[in-house]
Assembly symmetry: C2
Homo-oligomer: 429 residues x 2
Amino acid sequence: MRKALLLSALFILIPSLANASSNGGGHDESHMALVLLFIGALLLVARVGAMAEKIGQPAVLGELLLGAALSAVVSVTGWQGIRHLLQDPAVLFCASVGVILLLFKTGLESNINDMLRVGLRALLVACVGVALPFIGGYVTSGLLMPDTTFNARLFIGATLTATSVGLTARVFDDLKIKDSREARIVLGAAVIDDVIGLIILAVVSGIVSSGSVSWSGGAWLLGKSVLFLGLALFLGTALAPKLTAAFSRIHEGVGMKMAIALMFCFGLAYASVALVGLAPIVGAFAAGLVLDHVHFRQFSSEKNVEDLIEGIAIFFVPIFFVYTGLQVDLTVFQDLALVGNAIAITMVAIVGKVLCGFVSGPGTNHWLVGFGMVPRGEVGLIFLAMGKQLNVVNDRIFAMGVIMVMLSTLLTPPILTVIIRRQSPRAIV
Amino acid sequence: MRKALLLSALFILIPSLANASSNGGGHDESHMALVLLFIGALLLVARVGAMAEKIGQPAVLGELLLGAALSAVVSVTGWQGIRHLLQDPAVLFCASVGVILLLFKTGLESNINDMLRVGLRALLVACVGVALPFIGGYVTSGLLMPDTTFNARLFIGATLTATSVGLTARVFDDLKIKDSREARIVLGAAVIDDVIGLIILAVVSGIVSSGSVSWSGGAWLLGKSVLFLGLALFLGTALAPKLTAAFSRIHEGVGMKMAIALMFCFGLAYASVALVGLAPIVGAFAAGLVLDHVHFRQFSSEKNVEDLIEGIAIFFVPIFFVYTGLQVDLTVFQDLALVGNAIAITMVAIVGKVLCGFVSGPGTNHWLVGFGMVPRGEVGLIFLAMGKQLNVVNDRIFAMGVIMVMLSTLLTPPILTVIIRRQSPRAIV
C-alpha cells in the first residue's frame, strides 16, 4: 500500500515538473535545476525498478519496464514537458555516459588474456550470429510482405544483425555471472558483430545507392576496424603502465587515478567514433580491457580503479536504462497486422542469435550464449533510420524494427534469468 | 621535464580536438564523444592543477589557474572549437552539477545543530559583510569615476555584496578545516548574504526602472526566502527519516540510498530556484544539512551517504573549478586605466568583507572568517549582467566587475592558506 502511494507520488511529481518546464522556458538556472531534478527522478524510478530483484529478476528489467510504463503515461496523457526533458542534451549526455561507463566497467572487470583466449570462439559466434538473422530477415520479410523491394529486405536483414552489448553486460552483472566463459564469449562476439554490422551497413547502403556491391569499401572498413582494435589493445597495453606512472608523478591521489582511467575510456571511445565510425562503447570496452590494477600501483589511494568507476557508474548507468525504457513507443502496438509481422521478424531475430550460441564450443552453456546475443538496440535503429533516409524503409517497416528492438530487449533479462537459475540455483540467491 | 612534456601534450591535444569539433558538426554520436573527451581532459587538467598541493596551496587554486592559463591559450590563438565545447550544454551541466554536489556534500558534512548554534553570528557577519562593500563600492566608484550615474554606483555597490560560497567551501575542504566554527560561520553567512543580495538586486532594479524604492517587493522576497529555508530545514528534518524508511522498504541497496539523497539535493535545489529565485546551491546546502547518517540506518549497504556522494562529486566538482578558471578573460587586463580602477574596487570588495570577520565573536579567527567571505562569483556577475540589460552598467564597468570577481577568487586560496598555517602549522601537512 505504501509502495503504491510512493509510486503514485512519483508519477504525479514528474508531470507537474514537466508542466513547470514548458511554462518556464528561458531562465537558464531554473531549467538546469529542473533537468537535474528530472535526472534525480529517473534515478529514483530506476531504484524502484530494482524491486524486480525481489522476484528473482535482474534490476535492469525493472528499470526498462518502469521506463516503458512512464512512456505510456506520457503518450496517453500527452505531457509535452517530459518529452522536452527527454530531449534535453544534458539528459541524453548522462544516458550516453551511462552506457559508455558500463562497457568500460565491464572491460575493467574482464581480463584481456581471458578475452583473447575466447577470441576465436567469439569470432565464430559473431559470424554465425550475423549471418543467420540477416538471411532469416531477408527471407521472412519476402514471405510476409511480398510487396517489399529487394533493397528493403536487405535493410531488414541488416537491422537484425548487431547485438546491443550494454543490456547483456548489465544482466550478466546483475546476475553475477560476468566472469563466466559464456559472458566473455558474448562480450567479445558483440564487439565483433558491431564491426561486422558496420561493414554490412556500408555495403548495403552502397548497393542501395549505386546498385552494385563495393567490396573495396567493405574491406577498407574491416581493415580500419581491425587495425583500430588491434592498435588500441596492443599499444594501450604497452603504454598504459608508462602513462599512469608518469601522471602518478604529477599527483598520486585518488582523483588523478580516476582522471587517467576516464581519459583512457573517453579517449578510446572518441577514437572509435571519430577515426573508425564504430560505436563509442567499443572503444570504452577496449579501454577497460587494457587497463588493469597493476597499472595504478604507484598511486597512494586505497581505492582501486574499479571502485572509483563504480562510484560514478552508479549515477550514470541506471539513467541509460530508464531512458531506454522511455524510448519505447507503445502506440505502435495498435496496428495488429503490423504487430503480427513484427512478432514474426522478432522470432527470426531471436532464433538466429540463439542458434549462434550452439557454436560456442564445449564446456559452455549454448543457451546462455545464444540468448545473451539476442538483445538488439541502437545499432539496429541506426540501420532503420539510414534506410528511411535513403527512402528504402517505410514507416511500417520502421515500426516493425522498433517492436523487434523492444521485444528482444524486454524478453532477454527474464529468459537469461531462467537459464542461469536452471544451470546453478545458487548463482542468483 | 617529463611533467612539462605531459602538460604540453595536453595543450596540443585539446586544440586538435577543438579543430575536429568545428570541422565535424552534425554527427551526434561523434559530438557526444568529443564532449566526453573534453570533460575527461578538464578532469586531467584539474588533477594536474592539484600539483598546487605540493607547494602547500589548496588544489582548487591550481584548478582555477590552469583553467585561466588554458583560457589565455585559447584567446591568444583564437581556437573557436574550445569555445564551442565550453558552451556545450553538457559541459555547462556537469559544471553546475559540480557546484551543487559540492554544497550538498558540505551540508552533509555539517551538522544542522552546529549550524544553528552559529546562526546569529552568521547573520551579523552577513549583514556587515553586505553593508560595508555596498557602501564602499558606491562611494569609491563616485570618487574614481565622477561621471558615473547614481544608478551605476548602486549597481557597482550591489555587485560587491554576495560571497561565492563554493570556492570557500572547497578551500576549507582542501585545507581540512571545514569542521571549524569559522567554517560554519562563513557557510551560514554566505547562504544568508545570497538572500540579502537577492533582495538588494530586486530593490536596486526597482529603483532603476521605476525611480522609487519598492519596500514591499523587498519585504516579500525576504519573507519568501526565510520561509523557504525555514520550511526546508524543519519540514526536511521531520520528513527525511520517514521518507528514507519508506523507500528502504522498496529497495534497501546502495543505489536507492544514493537516489534518495540526490533526490533530496536536486529537489531542494530546484525548489530554491523555482519557488524563491535563490541560487540552486542554497537548496542543495539545506538538503545536505537536513540529511544525516541515521536517516539511512535501514539500508543494508556498508557505504555511508557521504562516501556515495563523494564518489560522484570526484567526477563533477573539479569540472566546475576548471570551468570557472576558463571563464577568466585575460584580455580585459590590457586597458591599464581600467585595471587601476578595478584594483581599487577589488580592494574595497576585499576590505569590506575582511572587516565583517571582526564581528564573528570571541574564540574565532577573525581573519579566517573575513577572508573566507572574500570570494565573489556568479551572483556578482548576474548583477552586472542585469545592470547591462537595464542600460545602467556599461562595458567598462562590466569589465571592472569581472576583474574584481577574478582577483577575489584567485587571491583567496593562498591568503586563507597563510592564515591557517599561521594559526596551526600542523593543519596543512
